[in-house]
């Protein structure tokens, strides 16, 4: 799937509350918007969010978007084990699954998907990007799916991060670049 991603592209991001799942989704949505696609972003909401898991559906399309709720993702980004377990079976055959290996640590049982485990949290912490594992994974997704461009993502970051935090903008950009460059961990190929 490394060529420019085909539209429509339906993405599910999931993890613990606090891992920045909604923000990562917003980056992808903004990028899609800047690229001229139709886009939608839908969070899970309600009391379940509190302390528990958070997830978010993002759709990119070149036609009007019907249901913004992604039930059969083309791409799944999972940042913890419960989320991975909850959504892995729903991924479309041939779909892309990117997991934060630090948190998930599982190998997939599905042979019909593209599986990309990266130890995002660990790498982020070791690279002075603590708390930006989410953005790292967006970078990885960019590399894997080519859904947008690094330039677009930089613009998306500028829209998503308050101008007051210039430093943060920079860190986010770094995280994208870093994420795009991480190779798949070989934990599961062994």
């Amino acid at each position: 799937m490394a060529e420019h991603a085909k539209m429509p592209l339906n993405i599910m991001l999931a993890g613990f509350g606090g891992q920045g799942i909604l923000f990562a989704g917003k980056l992808i949505a903004y990028a899609g918007m800047i690229d001229g696609h139709e886009i939608s972003w839908l969070p899970s909401y309600g009391p379940e969010m509190r302390g528990g898991t958070a997830n978010c559906s993002v759709c990119l399309s070149d036609e009007a978007i019907g249901s913004p709720l992604v039930t059969e993702p083309d791409v799944l980004i999972a940042m913890n084990l419960p989320s991975y377990e909850r959504f892995i079976d729903s991924v479309k055959p041939g779909g892309v699954v990117i997991v934060d290996e630090t948190m998930v640590g599982a190998c997939t049982m599905r042979p019909d998907i593209e599986y990309h485990p990266v130890p995002a949290t660990e790498i982020a912490e070791n690279s002075g990007l603590k708390g930006l594992a989410n953005v790292l994974l967006v970078g990885k997704m960019l590399a894997v799916t080519g859904f947008s461009s690094e330039k677009t993502l930089h613009a998306a970051i500028e829209k998503s991060v308050s101008a007051k935090h210039l430093d943060l903008i920079d860190l986010n950009r770094k995280a994208i670049a870093l994420g795009a460059g991480i190779p798949d961990s070989d934990a599961c190929t062994a």
Binding site: M33, I39, L42
Partner: protein, 370 residues
């Protein structure tokens, strides 16, 4: 071209209200309309307006009543149980011919129900916002852009016809973000003066009265009849609907709001399978766009209504079709979102000329696609 911003539906409603000259908001917290109130709380003080968290939905709607009587553009928002509580107040606004915009970001019911998206307040909105003979105009946006756009229309029509206007959204539309081109802010001073407003006669006119009490039955009937003449005009002039592939459609889906989005995808899928499906998406639920239904009657062989409820709008479709074709229903309720594939199965059934009410348990029995 106006630059688009990514916004939640709830926020778009709030921002659009501000741009439509609304400077008064009275509400009471409830999920899933939270972001709307939070946005207002942030913006109103800076816009020189009033954000007031009322002690309850009952108090909120009555504050709206007072603010509207004073001539202001005013808004309140809530979700299903909270809207039930506003029923008496809405009926009073109808009876006193007071405009205002009332948002219902629907959630699953009945009772406390759940907080996931739902369209189960259709009847409450279109038939019985409160007691007595009376209606509110009901808009049903299906995109965040439309949420922004319809707010302006809602204030417009409310003022023009002196009726409360409801925007019937749901948790999905309220929570989701889409790009939106925000309407230009209006200049409130350009709005026509409300001569009936109770804003102090200043010695310049006789006293104005805002009231819905008429102890003499004939007088009360007269006011209701006068209002119904306004309703008749609204029915003539304000119906709104969008059509998608209806020109040659043999199976016509009718769906609004979130359900219309899913239906649209399903219609596209059906076309791929060679089924001549089309979609009518009512944008006004009251007045119901019967004229649009009429346009498809000659070709349509059957109708399929899709709702996030046990089937409510389907009755309006049946009334409009009046026996000329079978009208079927498919839906999910309680916050369960139907998938396009499920709707597709229903389209296939309808295409075979069946009439059915596919409430969810049937689907599951018959192995529906979810």
């Amino acid at each position: 071209m106006v630059e688009k911003v990514l916004m939640k539906g709830n926020e778009a409603l709030a921002e659009a209200a501000l741009r439509a000259g609304c400077r008064f908001f009275f509400g009471y917290p409830i999920t899933p309309q939270t972001e709307l109130a939070a946005y207002m709380a942030k913006r109103m003080p800076k816009a020189g307006g009033v954000y007031l968290q009322a002690e309850s939905e009952v108090a909120a709607i009555n504050m709206v009543y007072g603010a509207s009587a004073a001539g202001a553009r005013v808004m309140t928002s809530s979700s299903s149980p909270g809207v039930s509580l506003k029923g008496e107040g809405i009926s009073y606004m109808i009876g006193a011919d007071l405009p205002a915009v009332i948002i219902n970001v629907q959630r699953g019911g009945p009772g406390l129900g759940g907080i996931q998206p739902s369209q189960a307040d259709y009847w409450m909105a279109t038939r019985a916002a409160g007691h007595g003979d009376g209606h509110v105009i009901v808009f049903a946006p299906s995109t965040v852009q439309e949420m922004a756009d319809l707010v302006a229309s809602a204030f417009e029509l409310g003022d023009r016809y002196r009726v409360p206007v409801m925007i019937l959204a749901d948790g999905m539309l309220g929570q989701m973000m889409e790009p939106v081109a925000l309407p230009e802010p209006i200049d409130s001073r350009s709005l026509p003066e409300k001569e009936w407003a109770t804003n102090g006669h200043g010695g310049k006119r006789t006293h104005n009265i805002v009231n819905s009490l008429y102890l003499v039955a004939q007088q009360l009937e007269d006011t209701v009849v006068e209002r119904s003449q306004r309703y008749a005009r609204i029915k003539d002039e304000e119906q709104l609907a969008e059509t998608y592939l209806t020109e040659d459609a043999e199976v016509v889906l009718v769906a609004y709001g979130a359900a219309a989005r899913i239906s649209r995808t399903a219609v596209a899928k059906a076309r791929e399978l060679g089924i001549k499906a089309g979609l009518i998406r009512p944008v006004t639920l009251w007045p119901f766009p019967v004229d649009t239904i009429e346009t498809v009657i000659p070709v349509a062989k059957s109708f399929l209504t899709v709702e996030l409820s046990m089937g409510q709008m389907v009755e309006d479709v049946r009334l409009a079709v009046n026996g000329r074709s079978p009208v079927s229903f498919f839906g999910h309720t309680g916050g369960v979102i139907p998938t396009p594939d499920e709707v597709l199965v229903a389209i296939q059934k309808a295409a075979m000329g069946e009439q059915f009410d596919l409430v969810p348990y049937h689907t599951r029995l018959t192995g529906g696609a979810r």
